[in-house]
Structures are given as structure tokens and as C-alpha cells.
């Protein structure tokens, strides 16, 4: 066990899986010679060589398709998108090929591949480079979507994603790479977290904040602030968006009777909409208040610093949402 960064946790996961299974390889822009645009693949070229760590041209659709083909013949590709914003170019391969191959082949062709990279806004990257891309992927049946928030979750979930026999979109966060946390090391054994399980990051009794990815850290900040006001908030980190841990969602709502869903993306048909739909359908009698969502503003992300701050979810907006469901003025 050691306190390492989210970036290093991912690096450990890749190294362990590549050592464990020869068919695992990493492919993407700058992953080899440059050690990765965000240094996630640092040292892997030296350790595993250029057949296992492959630099590509700027051609997302091309190398995503290459990955699909490789998976079809028995390899286990980890396809890195420098950010998931660029993967929009590759959606035809990710959705129409990868997600649908198992169904269209009548269950014959599994594609044990992982699409990974950072998603969501960083700081002043502008409208095209700040999107929360989970919605594009989670909508299609046939591809799993995972969004780890902490270093330990990043390592355990990436190992599980690589071992999964079907496609997984593994979405990291640019602002998360430097977050530090306790992570079991190789000396602690094979640390794998199963996909599809949420995690209560903070126990509470008065209100549930249901969230994922970078927003988990915002939620924890909000909870600390509410604590000073005597409100005890529970923070549920979904970790997987597909499959969704519905039981965990219902359990937290049953416990606190009120929920705020916090997400990084746009409000219209965002991830939170699905969660609210499930809560009102299956936990109706446990609700003392409507479920309230906090999301990015329904606009392309501004470049100007002050506008970007206003567009993103903030501590105050989440606190206001919690007060609303608590009927506190």
C-alpha cells in the first residue's frame, strides 16, 4: 500500500496487466516515445517494447478500427484517446463496431478491448476540448462505461476493464491525474475491483449526493461544508455508469430520503436523467422531496476563465440543491 497519484496508479495497472497477459497491448497518440501525453504510459515502451506499446498517427477512427480488428483475432488492445473529445471521430468504430459486434455475430465475437483516456473539462481548454463524453458511450448497449474518481479505483477498475471480455470505455480525468491516494501495490497481490459496483465515499444520513468521476471530489467538499451546518451528507460514487449499480442508488435513497445527482456533463438527457428516472420509479415511496440535478450549464464550455467557472457545477450550486431537497431556506 502506498500513497501514489492517479496517474501512477493507472501506470501500475497497465504494467501489471501487460506483464500478466502477452496479448494486452497499448496503442494511441504519443503513448510510446513520449511516455504518453499525460505520462500515464511512462516507462512502458522501455519495459515491453514497441510491439506492445504502439504510437499512432493522429487518426482516431483508424486506430480505433485497428483495435477492433485486433480484438477480433484474439488480442487485448488498450486504445488510448488523448482525450475522449477526440474520440467523437472514432465513434463509428467504438459504437457501430465494438459495441454491436457481439450482438450482430450472434454471441460469437467478443471484443476484449478498452478505450481509455481523460474526459470532461480541465481548465480553459475551450468548447471542443472540455466535453464530458460519457453520454455518447453509455447510450449504446454493448459497451461498458467506467469513471474512476480515486487512484485506488483507477487501478482496480482498469485491471478489471482490461480483463473484461467485452468493450469498456474507461474514462479518466485530466484534473484527476495528480490526485493522490492510498493504492495497493503489486506486493499486495492482484488488486481488481469488479465493474458495476458503486462505492459510498462518505457515509451520511440526511441527503445523498449521487455522482461519479471528478465530481466526486466536489461532492466531498460540499459534504464537508454542509457538515458545519449540521447536515450529514452521504456521497455515492457510482464508479461504473454501465452497468449501473442500481441497488446502491436505491439503498442510499432509502436511507436519506432525498437525493441530489451531480454530473459533469450537460443537463439535457445527461447521465443524471437516467439516475433520476430510476430513483423516482423504484424508490418513489422513499422520497421526501423531488430529486434535484446539478450539471454543467447547457452551453458549450466557455474559454473565458470567469465564464468557465460559472458554467461548471460549483460548491454553492450543490449546497443550494441539497438545501432545496432538505426544505431548508
Amino acid at each position: 500500500m502506498a500513497s501514489i497519484t492517479y496517474r501512477d496508479a493507472l501506470n501500475q495497472a497497465l504494467a501489471e496487466e501487460m506483464a500478466r497477459d502477452d496479448s494486452v497491448f497499448l496503442m494511441g497518440e504519443e503513448v510510446a516515445e513520449y511516455d504518453g501525453a499525460y505520462k500515464v504510459s511512462k516507462g512502458l515502451l522501455d519495459r515491453f517494447g514497441d510491439r506492445r506499446v504502439v504510437d499512432t498517427p493522429i487518426s482516431e477512427l483508424g486506430f480505433a478500427g485497428l483495435g477492433v480488428g485486433a480484438a477480433m483475432v484474439g488480442l487485448k488492445p488498450v486504445i488510448e484517446f488523448m482525450t475522449f473529445n477526440f474520440s467523437l471521430l472514432a465513434l463509428d468504430q467504438a459504437i457501430n463496431s465494438a459495441a454491436k459486434m457481439l450482438y450482430m455475430s450472434g454471441g460469437q465475437i467478443h471484443l476484449p478491448m478498452v478505450f481509455r483516456g481523460p474526459t470532461g473539462a480541465a481548465l480553459q481548454l475551450g468548447a471542443q476540448h472540455s466535453q464530458s463524453c460519457a453520454t455518447w458511450y453509455v447510450h449504446a448497449p454493448g459497451i461498458k462505461v467506467v469513471t474512476p474518481a480515486t487512484p485506488a479505483d483507477a487501478k482496480g477498475l482498469l485491471k478489471a476493464a482490461i480483463r473484461d471480455e467485452d468493450p469498456v470505455a474507461f474514462m479518466e480525468g485530466e484534473l484527476l491525474y495528480n490526485v493522490k491516494g492510498e493504492v495497493p501495490g503489486p506486493e499486495d497481490g492482484d488488486f481488481v475491483i469488479p465493474l458495476g459496483l458503486a462505492d459510498v465515499k462518505r457515509e451520511g444520513s440526511d441527503v445523498s449526493i449521487v455522482t461519479n468521476g471528478a465530481m466526486v471530489h466536489l461532492a466531498l467538499t460540499v459534504a464537508a461544508k454542509l457538515e458545519k451546518d449540521g447536515v450529514n451528507a452521504e456521497v455515492l460514487d457510482l464508479r461504473s455508469l454501465r452497468p449501473l449499480d442500481v441497488d446502491a442508488i436505491l439503498a442510499t435513497v432509502r436511507k436519506t430520503n432525498r437525493a441530489v445527482v451531480l454530473e459533469e456533463g450537460w443537463p439535457y438527457v445527461g447521465i443524471g436523467a437516467q439516475i433520476v428516472s430510476i430513483i423516482q420509479d423504484e424508490a418513489f415511496d422513499d422520497l421526501d422531496a423531488p430529486v434535484v440535478r446539478v450539471t454543467q450549464a447547457d452551453i458549450p464550455m466557455p474559454y473565458a476563465k470567469n465564464l468557465e467557472v460559472m458554467a461548471k457545477p460549483s460548491v454553492q450550486r450543490v449546497v443550494d440543491a441539497c438545501n432545496r431537497v432538505l426544505y431548508r431556506n
Binding site: 430520503n257 418513489f284 415511496d285 422513499d286 422520497l287 421526501d288 422531496a289 426544505y327
Partner: protein
Amino acid sequence: MATTVHMEALSPTMEEGQVVRWLKAEGAAVTSGEVIAEVETDKATMELVARADGKLRKIFISEGGVAPVGSVIAVIGAEGEDISALLPDGATAQAGGGGAARPAAAAEVGAPTARAAASVAVPPEAQPAPAAVAEPTVVVEEPRSDGGRVKASPLARRLAADGGIPLASIRGSGPGGRIVKRDVEQAAKEPAPLARPALPPPSDADYADVPLTQMRKTIARRLVESIGPVPHFFLTIDVDMTRVVDARKRVNALLDSRGIKVSYNDIVLKATAVALRQHPNCNSHWGGDHIRQFNRVHLGVAVAVDDGLITPIVRDAHVKGIAQIAEEVRELAGRARERKLKPDEYTGATFSVSNLGMFGIEAFTGVINPPEAGILAVGALEERAVVEAGQVVVRPRMRITMSCDHRVIDGAQGARFLETLKAILEEPLTALV
């Protein structure tokens, strides 16, 4: 063998009922004859009993919900028994939290079958489950917006149901008056209030709409049925009450040791009963194709209750002494205010008396309660200047106005009855001989 629970006709004139409170929650064991719900009818709050043993498997109407007589409102069956055949269209057999109302499917609601014809004397006993409803396609309507739908969070509904607190009695602190968890918790700490619909929260608006209670709806409907079709005319007399004032003092002195106090109205009731015996044509019901003249006098005594009025009955008033009449009126009025009258206690009067004297009303005209043929409106007893033997003197006087159904009572007949009544009141000993 699973059975359906119907909204029963708990009074002969009842057309719909409002569930005030479920005494049993979904899943609870019930035995035949056990009270499972309190239902507000057109006049009073009644108990609904289970007609079978088993578990209350499904409730289709939540507290505050209104359903027509005859509709299916719940199912009793054994644990695990398949009850799908008994469910109204559109409902599912999932276990839910305490009695959530199911959305109605499009099936027509069966016509109320238990309405007694107004033209015949009603039987004193309330009839249980009406004949027409066995089909599972009769559905329960959602609580109506005109009936005062209560806004409450799903959790608050469940907590109130579990705690046996009528939602209608809880004041909501959420947006729009929504009842939320803390309101239910608060109400649980307070003593149980009477079940009545919550008034809208005070506001600065120019008006506030007050939802109609069952009683108001009934009063509105019944009296329109009266003033409309019934050809009313009105006769007024002014009665010298000197001897009544004196008699009352003496009677109350006699009754002091028994703890009974006789009021002026009790004396008027007795005098009316005696007078009616002598004028059976006024102690009558309009029967459409006949007039029923009664030999016994059952007087309906109008009692003002919260938000309305009801007429509990003093039966055989012609043979009861005023002490007994006084006691009965007191007892019935008390229970009327608590909405605890049984149907046979407010149906079956032959004639009615209404008194607004305590409000200083000099005289007024009452609306007849069909199928009765008349009603007396008693005004205030006041000292007035009158002329006796050419002199102006001060006497206690009381004006009584009789409303008559002209199909049953003609002017002269009504006048003769009032003449008799006046004679009795001006010389009470007349009633003794």
C-alpha cells in the same frame, strides 16, 4: 378465496365516500367484522368493516381519496394467493408502501346503486355492499382535484399511513403546502385532531378556494333538490312566550337535582310534536303519487356543525317529556359535531325544526328537507312592545315561520297547525291535558 372490498353504502343516501383513514396497512391481517377504515359519507364519518378473513393484500385508494359507492377499494386474500383477477384494470400486484392510489384505467365507473329514493321513508338500518358491483373492471378514481387533493411527498404519505394520521389533518410546510416528513413527525407528537380537509394556507391573494367537504356537497345537492322542485310557501306567527318563560324556570328548578337543563327550543320541540299529532296532514311526507301521513312524530333538530349542518332525530317526540327531549338533543348534537352519528339517527324524520334564535335572528325561512312536508324556523325570544287591551306592554315574544310544501299542505292547513302550536306555547298546560 380472495375477495374485493367495496366502498359500501354506509348511509342510504350516500353516493360516494372519502377514505379518511386506513386502520390497516397493506399486508396486515384482517378478520371479518373488523374495522379496516374510516370513511366520510355525506353526513358523518363511518366505519368500514372487513367482510372476510385474510390479509389486506392491496389497497387501491389512499387516505383522502374519494370513490363512488360500489367501487372496489381493496382486496383481501391469503398471503401469496393470486389476486390478479380481482385487480382493477391498470393496477399491478406489486407490494407497495401503505396504500398508494393506482392510476385509473379508462373503464367506466359503475353508477351508484345504493341511493334510496327520496320519496319513500328510508329504513333505519344502513344497507351494506350494494348489488351491482362484482366486475373487476370497476375502477377507483384518483383523488379528485375538486375534492381537495392533498399534496404530500411519497415518504410523508407512507409515514402518515403507517402512523394512522389522516393526511388531511396535517399542515404542510413544503412548497405549495406540500406535506413532508417533518410535518408528519410533528403531527405524530400532537394529539390526534378531528379528520377534516385542511384549509388552504393563508396568503395575500384576493381569494382562496376552499375544497368542498362531503357534507357541503350533500347540503348543496339536497337543498337544490328541495327549493327547486318543492313549492315552498311561508307562514309566520308571533307567539307570546310569557308562560313558557315561567314554566321553563319552574321545570329547570325541578330538574336541577337530575342535572338536566331544558332550553326554550326543547319546549318548542315538544309543543311542535303535540301540535303535529293534531294535524297529521302537516306531519307528512310527499311520496310522488301519494302523501304519507305519520301517526308518530320524529322531529329532525337542525344542529350546526363545523362547516355545515345536520338534523339528528328525536324519535317519538310526541310521547317524550321535555327532560328526555332535552337530554337527547344535547347528546345527539354533541355527537353530530364530532361527526359520529349513525345513519338511522339522521334519517327518517317526519318534520324538522331549526332554531337560529341564539344568534339574535328575529325570523327566517327554512328550506324543507325532502321528503318532509314542512319545517319550522324558530327566531329569537325577545322582549317586545305589544298592544294588549289597548295598552302597550312589554312581553317576551318569539316569531316562528313555517315553510310548507304546497303539494302536501295548503295555506289554511298550515295556518291551523300554527294556530294550535301558538295556543300550546301560550298556555303550556294545553300539552298536559
